[in-house]
């Protein structure tokens, strides 16, 4: 019957908004990074969905629960350095919200996701068009086709570099969670799934 000792924040499940946006974005990033056809209709829709989830998470970072708010995990390089020292020494410590490295990771991933989705939308335009907007707009705009194309190439370059970087960071993120879990002696994915530690003993 001993459920004491689980007082730390890290054991509590994350709230539903954090969980839904986290897994939604994770699925969207994996699908668009690895599965869907680049620039296809499905790719564009998933991109919009990812941006919506990101926006919701950012709103939640301001008005959400205490643990989900940005103020609970401000980006701090000095805290991250300290945290890195703990990891190198294979020590585990409970943090009430994201741990310092996790926090930096979250901001980095959000930033990259914003870049990826916005450049994607810049290229694809409206989610409801059958064809990408710039194709549809050809001839309508009094702008040079070359100029348009050049701009799209720049966007595409940024889009791809940021997307690949995001996938690398996501893999690093998974590795970090695995490392912290093994140091903590418990599965840190569980709070993000929303289930509690099973069976009191």
């Amino acid at each position: 019957m001993s459920e004491t000792g689980s007082g730390g924040g890290a054991d509590r499940p994350w709230d539903p908004i954090v969980r839904l946006t986290h897994w939604g974005i994770a699925v969207a990033v994996l699908l668009n990074g690895l599965v869907t056809e680049d620039g296809g209709q499905v790719h564009v829709w998933i991109g919009y969905a990812a941006l919506a989830l990101l926006a919701l998470r950012l709103v939640w970072g301001v008005v959400g629960t205490r643990r989900a708010r940005f103020t609970a995990f401000p980006p701090s390089l000095s805290a991250a350095r300290e945290h890195l020292g703990e990891l190198v020494g294979l020590r585990y410590r409970d943090y009430p919200s994201h741990n310092p490295l996790g926090s930096l990771m979250a901001y980095a991933l959000w930033g990259l996701l914003a870049v990826v989705t916005l450049t994607g939308i810049g290229m694809a335009g409206s989610p409801f068009d059958e064809r990408p907007a710039f194709v549809q707009a050809e001839g309508q705009l009094d702008r040079d086709d070359d100029e348009r194309e050049e701009e799209n190439e720049v966007l595409e370059e940024i889009h791809e570099v940021a997307a690949n970087l995001m996938l690398v960071l996501a893999a690093l993120h998974v590795g970090g969670v695995a490392l912290e879990s093994s140091l903590a002696g418990r599965n840190l994915v569980r709070p993000m799934l929303g289930t509690r530690r099973g069976g009191g003993r």
């Binding site: 019957m1 919506a52 709103v59 549809q136």
Partner: protein, 183 residues
């Protein structure tokens, strides 16, 4: 002690449902906004596009307000859970302290705890794999050590402690019914 309590689960389901609605609203807002922005850049502003933009804004505002409501709901659920845990922990500590004070043996303490939880002698014997007579004797020892005559009195010791505990205001000695205190 396995899994969340029913009430807790209900609260969790409600906030999860609200979260799903918020996510859908956010998705809808993003698609509307994306379409509106694309239409405005391509075709300029007309009534149709303006309406789309308004819908997107309304949805976005709904998301923000819904999120605030959601925060209140989640935090309230957390608070009541924390209070429940504290009360549970406090009662557990109280019981342990009393048992120690009375000098119960581990076996007696275990039997006494089961008795407090409402198990009858037969059930306790079954759970402990002991004979009925053994459990009866252990319970008798518990009552004697606690200075009570029955299970109800044993229970009353703890109820009394809880009610007389850190309640604000002068704890009346029972000479007055706490009938109409604070509406």
């Amino acid at each position: 002690m396995t899994g969340p309590e029913p009430g807790e689960r209900r609260g969790g389901a409600r906030s999860t449902a609200l979260a799903v609605v918020l996510v859908l609203q956010a998705l809808a807002a993003a698609f509307f906004a994306g379409d509106a922005v694309a239409d405005i850049t391509l075709a300029g502003l007309d009534l149709h596009v303006a309406m789309e933009a308004v819908i997107a804004l309304a949805l976005a505002a709904g998301v923000v307000f819904g999120a605030r409501e959601m925060r209140r709901m989640v935090e309230q659920a957390d608070r009541s859970e924390a209070a429940l845990m504290a009360a549970r922990g406090a009662l557990g500590e109280l019981i342990e302290a009393r048992f120690a004070h009375w000098g119960l043996t581990p076996a007696e303490a275990s039997v006494a705890l089961m008795a407090l939880k409402g198990f009858d002698v037969a059930a306790i014997a079954g759970l402990r794999g002991a004979a009925l007579g053994t459990v009866r004797a252990q319970l008798a020892h518990v009552y004697a050590k606690a200075g009570v005559a029955s299970r109800a009195e044993l229970l009353a010791v703890f109820i009394d402690d809880l009610l007389e505990g850190p309640v604000d205001g002068p704890a009346a000695g029972g000479d007055e019914l706490p009938a109409a205190r604070e509406g």
